[in-house]
């Protein structure tokens, strides 16, 4: 495992893993979509609208999972100052923003016909909106600070502070009165959802997780290449500068 923490080894492993993961993700997404649209039954109260759940819930789980992944990477950046941890942090932020956006909008599209409102300021919805804003702030932070090392440390501290929002999102439906329903899969008494709906949901959740893993590996690869490009650009600029300054210094020596 430690071998893959080396950026060069990581690139070689990513080259092998990416097509395999992408194929698995495509196949699982295909099966998941088939189950969600054609096998899972309609809900006795919500009717066909319940099918939005198979997109909304995996996106919601991923929005939190990606943040937890980023938190571990942030620890790697701060404690070990590992370049791969920096790349993992940076690569995850836009993906987290994308899945959180998907969660918010599909939730809104589900809420309008079921609750009669596109949006309510209840604890669950608001805390997820805060998570989305944190992701956007992290993306902006990475783009604002030019030095990758400084950007990684600033983003890591911001990520660790923002991590307090994750348990708030998870337990918001228990701590406050919310229009959003309480947990129905990961709860103490076991899932409160029928097996015919649970299985398609789990397949879609696994497909989304694999999708994130694939995209994250590809984005980390891009970050490693970006650092390499930056280093080469600086080296070339330094070489050009010394080439220009060499005759001048010889001239003054004479």
């Amino acid at each position: 495992m430690r071998n893959y923490a080396n950026p060069t080894n990581f690139l070689a492993a990513a080259r092998v893993a990416t097509p395999i993961l992408a194929t698995l993700t495509g196949a699982l997404l295909g099966v998941g979509l088939y189950l969600a649209w054609f096998v899972a039954p309609a809900d006795y109260q919500q009717g066909e609208t319940v099918r939005i759940m198979y997109l909304h819930v995996p996106a919601a789980w991923l929005s939190m999972f990606i943040y937890v992944t980023m938190t571990f990477a942030a620890l790697g950046s701060l404690v070990w100052r590992h370049p791969l941890a920096d790349a993992a942090q940076k690569a995850a932020a836009p993906l987290g923003a994308g899945f959180t956006f998907l969660c918010l909008v599909t939730g809104s599209l589900w809420g309008k016909p079921m609750w009669g409102a596109w949006w309510v300021w209840d604890a669950r919805l608001t805390s997820v909106l805060v998570l989305f804003l944190i992701y956007l702030a992290l993306v902006a932070l990475w783009r604002t600070i030019e030095d990758p090392g400084k950007a990684a440390r600033a983003a890591a501290i911001f990520t660790l502070v923002g991590a307090v929002n994750i348990p708030i999102i998870k337990f918001s439906v228990d701590w406050w009165n919310t229009l959003h329903q309480p947990a129905s899969v990961f709860r103490l008494g076991g899932p409160a959802i029928a097996g015919s709906m649970l299985w398609p949901l789990l397949v879609m959740a696994l497909a989304f997780t694999l999708l994130f893993l694939t995209l994250h590996i590809m984005a980390i690869r891009n970050e490693i290449l970006r650092r390499r490009l930056r280093r080469l650009s600086i080296q070339t600029a330094d070489a050009d500068r010394s080439e220009f300054s060499a005759p001048a210094s010889l001239g003054t020596a004479r």
Binding site: T8, L11, A12, R15, W37, A42, G47, E48, T49, R51, I52, L55, H56, A59, P94, L95, G98, F99, F101, L102, V105, T106, L109, W110, K112, P113, L211, L215, M218, A219, R221, N222, I224, L225, R226, R228, L229, R231, L232, Q235, T236
Partner: protein, 54 residues
């Protein structure tokens, strides 16, 4: 399913899912292609991801 009064909400949700996920995939692929192009301008082994840059 198409008879459901809220069918359009379901279609809109999945269409948005395809667009968001497609955009994430495309942006990563485009970024990768532009990085490879930029690295190819440098001589030596810079573009070979298997080897460390000089």
């Amino acid at each position: 399913m198409t008879q459901d009064p809220h069918f359009l909400y379901i279609v809109a949700a999945y269409a948005l899912g395809f667009v968001v996920i497609g955009a994430m995939i495309l942006s990563i692929l485009i970024d990768y292609a532009s990085l490879k192009r930029a690295l190819a301008r440098f001589p030596q082994r810079a573009n070979d991801p298997e080897r460390p840059a000089q």
